[in-house]
Amino acid sequence: MAVVRVQAEPFEMGAEFAALAGGRTDIGGVGAFVGQVRDAADGRRIVAMTLEHYPGMTERAVSAIAAEAEARWSLLGCTVIHRVGRLLPGEPIVLVLAAAPHRAAALAATGFLIDWLKTRAPFWKKEEYADGASAWVEAREADDAAAARWQQLPA
């Protein structure tokens, strides 16, 4: 069973890694991705980002994505933590860890998880800019394309 959490608090990567892989001798590799808040987008300075979610559906959607990854790559475990609320540049937003016997599965599953999280889990980002304005982030076609490539690949 994957570990899935949606939370306002920061996460501690080392602790999550230890919880997933500590003491395990069957795991040959753990893929990891950490998403952070950037300080600029499309040439505008970002001073903060607020992440909104749909309590209940978000947890269900992330759990379904994690279960799909576990099944497709026969993972030995995975962890997905996504933060919500107001975050500052440099703060971590999302953590994905995928554990497998070999690196190919661990790395592929990590890429799949973040690509599908971006396009299939109900989170929405609002950026605050240095000039005081703010705007909701628009969905990007590049993210849809990144997610779609996993449908064409064999499991």
Binding site: M57, H82, R120, A121, P122, K125, E138, A139, D143
Partner: protein, 87 residues
């Protein structure tokens, strides 16, 4: 006239445009699908116009993504929201 109560949720820029995060709605008996509900709400005008079929706003019924033909029943939770931008 039969009325059925629905719980409606709105998120992100849609929530701001319609000026509320949720509401209870007494659904007319003739509205039985997501398409019918979209038309009913879009007819309110203003920010609700974004709910019209064919726009970018997505719908979930009881926390599962729903299409135009998805049925709606008493007590359902129906959410409308923009394309997602997490990760």
């Amino acid at each position: 006239m039969t009325e059925r109560m629905l719980r409606l949720l709105y998120f992100a820029w849609l929530r701001e445009r319609v000026g509320r995060g949720e509401e209870s709605l007494a659904l007319p008996a003739e509205v039985t699908t997501v398409a019918g509900l979209r038309a009913l709400l879009a007819a309110r005008g203003g920010g609700f116009a974004a709910l019209a079929e064919g726009g970018s706003v997505r719908c979930a019924v009881n926390q599962d993504l729903a299409g135009p033909a998805t049925p709606i029943g008493p007590g359902d939770e129906v959410a409308f929201f923009p394309p997602v931008t997490g990760g």
